[in-house]
Subunit: 324 residues, 4 copies
């Protein structure tokens, strides 16, 4: 971290800041340029309060290092593989999770699971975990051969959710719900962490760090669209985030094109693009009869459309030397 | 609601949509233009699934009316006054809420409350309600003459918060946390509802509607900055939202410039601007010693700065024919 | 186009609008719903002034059809192929344009052209057309076997540029520079039209329409990044725009990942993603020695990196059944 | 400027960068922290190519100082007053420019000028300067007592525009049109420079700097709305930009609420807010009969509305100790 002083800062201003920082038990290092002085701070930046910017003569504070360490590729250069009950996310795997927005019945879930599995998917999205869906999810789990993904929306239900699911999903609205993040950390279960609608890549990684610091390093990052001024899609899928996240972090990255594209015809090309951009997997909304789904999801793919999507990504996944 | 058909839609396409809608128990009304046909739907749009866009020949669905009714000025043209334990929000009141980000001690809160009151503030912001702060807040309430505002961040604590506070604040991160919104509705207490960082004005009003439909119409809307590409302020305070919200809704609107401006020098001019734009009040972060506050809030105003701000807005409030 | 009346609109309000519209020589069609009345306008919406919203009782105007016709896929369902001096953009072609940001010397351009051609590129980007670069460009053209692309930044130079180039490029800053667009229309030459940093897809198509209406239908659309709040890339490449533009228009779409990604390592995955998303080509910045380029372009690829990129997209292009 | 090296950078990496910088004739200054090394560069940052980020081991470049000097308040702390043919912008003046989007006739302009002048306006907006409007503008100038503002949209017409106008206006679309900016610099005439729809405050100041470096320091900055995801106004007026620009620059700042608000009812509250936020003036679109204006401007104010707006801002301007 450095503190940049204004050109008009006096020596007294500079000394006051220097002494304050050193009073916190940190070392400082002065660089005097032609017009400005920089005070470098050596040691843990967490200990320097942001309020140092209120000192006279201070222009700005600049953090030179990221706010995340465990999630940071600078400190763990090898990409991470997450093992989720036997299936893997990362490196040479391309892991497709699919399913409906909400469970309507066990028999329907079994039917969906069969389609997903036959097409090459490895995990089944089973909607949101609630006390009501608990037994349904358990039955679905018993009757299918796919890993079970459930979304957790209530802090108090995370533990129970972890008992019936293989993977927890934290939706974009909860990316910074620290109560939920902490509970997810305590379960130790793999977590798919979705980027908030207006979160930066660094904010997503800061949330991942929070779970990791609390003891669970099994994090799978998920890009699912950001809010921009463009209205032709519901959100703007930020596929640049795939290589950016891979450069900044060692964690696997999956893409959910369903929630941003919204319009069925865009989901297939964006899924192919995600695979080609280096994503480690996809999350796809699938429903046997999208037009009559209980949750009214016009973005859900029919079985035919899902099969066609899977067939289209297969050769791209192979080019990437990954296994579907 | 109308359904716009594509120019290439056939008569069979149009009839299929028409019959489907009528099968839902709704009436339709066809308008045939030079190149396109519109199917108007008469009745409750809630009953038309969004998936109707999957029918062949459908171009798009357009909602002609807003998704909120109780909050909508079209259906209640008179502005609403909210009475919060004796103080009022709306019409000819200009209601300033101030206080720190977090309670550090009762004595400090009492000191802040005296400053806020002397300067013309009417409500005291007492940080986030938790089991730990409960007794502190109660003591603060007993020892000051201001209404107490607490932020609720946990669904399970809303009821208890409502017992010790006069006004509940739903922070921007929870604008769409329906668990919290519902609990707030059940308490019947006035709610300051903050706009999410990337929420539209209509989404804010939709959240307000949710609380109102669940039985609590005492909603105060709060603009506190939206996320844009501009980085010179933490968020971009959207002051246009003040007249826009007043045109679209009858509910009072307050502005929190502290969280968007972040930099102390910008808070005063933006507070004046908010008053001049027609806001019904402000929420200001105040701390006796911002540079050494426990929460490291460089945006908190010192007592001197707060007094100066209040002096500056007073004549503008008078011009607006409001009472501070 | 429809005019939506407010719930409180009186019959007199409705009649006044109706008579005004009919006075313009247009037909109207009333739909009366439960709470609102819609006035449908049959005929050319261009003739209805926007100021009709100032009439008492009017809630809003909604355009049901796009503002572009020639560029609109609804009116020409077959995708368009653009022939640019023998090379083609669209359908089963994947056309790579590459080159430096600015011409430094003829010999350097010839060297770049050889690399581009050997790797499968078909067009050479020759920087901005100016009086000074005119003879250089002509010499480059004479000595290479690639089609020549020049950017036009001055209305007065478009004609001259069209004499020495095969394809004109309108940069994002000039997407709405109607002087330049009109001159481009008059030349009849193929135009690569770049999306402005904050333009919607519909605004890009409206600019394309302007050139087309003025007599030149040889338009190639180019997505090159939009401005969002995310700062890890210079701009956010909007790859959803590829399928969206293909759904809305019949024109070819190319992608320029260099200007948005900015960072070299992101250009290759985004190029692959663009190919997989269905783009009709790429524009790539290439320089023999990026670190010492005259224009200081850290986003330019070296020859090695360019060759590696081309090798990586080749199999994806084949999967898409296109010819590089 | 500093270069931040990656934690994994070797001594050889650091030395290579250091030697390269010193080879450019600049001095360096190394700071070695716990995990990273910073290379400070002493001297003119313009001489360090951006491509230095391509060196192995480099994490990022950080510019510590702004890219503008003449416009920077750090180097000229006193606010600037611009004298435009007798009227002033800045400090204790509040200068209202008003007029239509386009000249329809001389007599109409004279009528508008009389209204603007009577209400306290000092400058008349006369649309875009073209060869056709030249003589009209001259006649309007001869017959009114207001300073004349014309928009320049063509580089080749700036000189002629400067002959008939007192103030040149560079619209938002041309904020980075360096041809026009340079011509404006050469005229020496006061320039109102509008912020581009997606420009940052720093980019606006960089454009101002360009004009100033080229010899014309008479720049008036203009905020007129930025593009965000919010759709209830055409653009989002960024009133924070007023105090931000005042903190970063000594130049006067005016606000144009007409083009962002679009809807008439929002223009008055936003004008009041701009005055209260410390703006040095307003630009308001006025038309005798908005509903029948040639340019179809539903955002233009009628004379009555303009008079009401001026009456409303007058006391706020007085509170700010400014002269209307």
């Amino acid at each position: 971290m450095i503190i940049v002083m204004k050109p008009a800062a006096t020596e007294a201003n500079i000394n006051a800041v220097k002494e304050y920082i050193e009073g916190l038990g940190l070392n400082t290092h002065l660089s005097t340029g032609k017009s400005i002085t920089i005070i470098g701070i050596i040691g843990d930046r967490k200990r320097v309060p942001d309020t140092v910017r209120l000192f006279p003569g201070v222009d700005k504070l600049i953090h030179l290092t990221e706010s995340y360490k465990l999630a940071n590729r600078k400190f763990k250069t090898e990409p991470t593989v997450i093992n989720a009950g036997g299936i893997k996310f990362g490196i040479d795997n391309f892991t497709v999770t699919a399913g409906p927005c909400a469970i309507e019945s066990v028999s329907q879930m079994v039917q969906i699971a069969e389609t997903v599995k036959a097409a090459g998917g490895r995990a089944l999205r089973c909607g949101v975990y609630t006390a009501e869906t608990d037994s349904l999810i358990k039955e679905v789990k018993a009757r299918t051969n796919l890993r079970i993904v459930v979304e957790v929306k209530r802090e108090s239900l995370v533990k129970a959710a972890a008992k019936c699911a293989d993977i927890l999903l934290v939706g974009s609205a909860n990316m910074e719900n620290y109560g939920i993040l902490k509970e997810c950390a305590l379960t130790g279960k793999p977590v798919i962490l979705c980027r908030r609608l207006a979160a930066t890549v660094d904010e997503l990684l800061t949330s991942a760090e929070y779970i990791m610091v609390n003891g669970n390093e099994n994090i799978i990052l998920c890009e699912r669209g950001i809010r921009t001024y463009e209205t032709s899609t519901r959100n703007t899928l930020d596929l640049s985030a795939v290589p950016v996240l891979k450069a900044k972090s060692h964690l696997p990255v999956v893409v959910d094109p369903s929630h941003s594209a919204f319009v069925m015809e865009y989901i297939k090309p964006l899924s192919k693009a995600a695979a080609a951009a280096g994503a480690d997997g996809l999350i796809i909304e699938v429903h046997p009869h999208p037009a009559s789904s209980a949750t009214n999801s016009s973005q859900a793919l029919s079985f035919n459309d899902f099969n066609s999507l899977m067939a289209a990504i297969k050769p791209i996944v192979q080019l990437e030397e990954r296994t579907l």
